[in-house]
């Protein structure tokens, strides 16, 4: 599982409240990602990070911000949650630049956070 944990695993909140999801990894990987997964859409990239304080937008970044002040933690913040942000959120890492069983890049996912915005 590449040492990826996500917290909280489940959260119910109300429209308009701020929400922060945390992704923590223990193997010092440089690249980290946040995805959301919705029925009929599959996995879509929200933001990703290629190092401490280095982040970039994905295809569905509106309404989300991220921060990475330490290699091991990548935070996803919904400044003012909306019902359209009800989803399952996954964090992932890529083994870019590291030895792997396949010899090249591999991407591993965390267990997910189920967020419901009422």
């Amino acid at each position: 599982d590449a040492g990826i944990t996500q917290s909280p695993r489940h959260k119910v909140t109300e429209t308009g409240t701020p929400v922060t999801l945390r992704c923590h990894q223990t193997e010092n990987h440089r690249y980290m990602y946040w995805y959301r997964q919705d029925p009929g859409h599959g996995l879509r990239l929200i933001h990703y990070s290629y190092g401490v304080k280095d982040t970039d937008k994905g295809e569905v970044s509106d309404g989300y911000s991220v921060s990475r002040s330490k290699t091991e933690d990548f935070l996803l913040t919904l400044e003012s949650a909306t019902s359209s942000q009800t989803s399952v959120y996954f964090c992932a890492i890529t083994t870019k630049g590291r030895p792997t069983t396949s010899g090249r890049d591999e991407q591993f996912f965390g267990p997910g956070t189920r967020l419901t915005v009422l």
């Binding site: 599959g42 990703y48 890529t94 870019k96 996912f109």
Partner: protein, 111 residues
């Protein structure tokens, strides 16, 4: 725009009935094609990465192949525990680290 289409959306097999899942893609230069398995309520589990046309990889009853336009995930003599959603994703050349995912194929294997 990079796109990934998986078919069928759902597939129901009897135990031991071999079949294939399809992942067709359009991408501006393929850096890698990934296959994942996802069980309900869990994160995707990495299966394979394929990098060039003609490449094949195997793991137990699964075999992934790649051409210039599509990839197949062949399942030989499946068991009920192979039931899951199988996801395909592409990584395009150009420096971005983004993966583009298909919507998945939900496989059910009946005993």
């Amino acid at each position: 725009e990079d796109q990934v289409t998986q078919s069928p959306e759902a597939l129901r097999l009897q135990e031991g009935e071999s079949s294939s899942l399809n992942c067709s893609y359009t991408v501006s230069g393929l850096r890698g094609l990934f296959w994942y398995r996802q069980d309900p309520g869990k994160g995707p589990e990495f299966l394979f990465t394929l990098y060039s046309a003609g490449e094949e990889k195997e793991k137990e009853r699964l075999k992934a192949t790649l051409t210039k336009k599509e990839s197949f995930l062949h399942i030989t003599a499946p068991k009920p525990e192979d039931s899951a959603t199988y996801l395909c994703a592409v990584h395009a050349r150009g420096g971005s680290e983004k993966l583009v995912f298909g919507k998945g194929t939900k496989l059910t294997v009946n005993p």
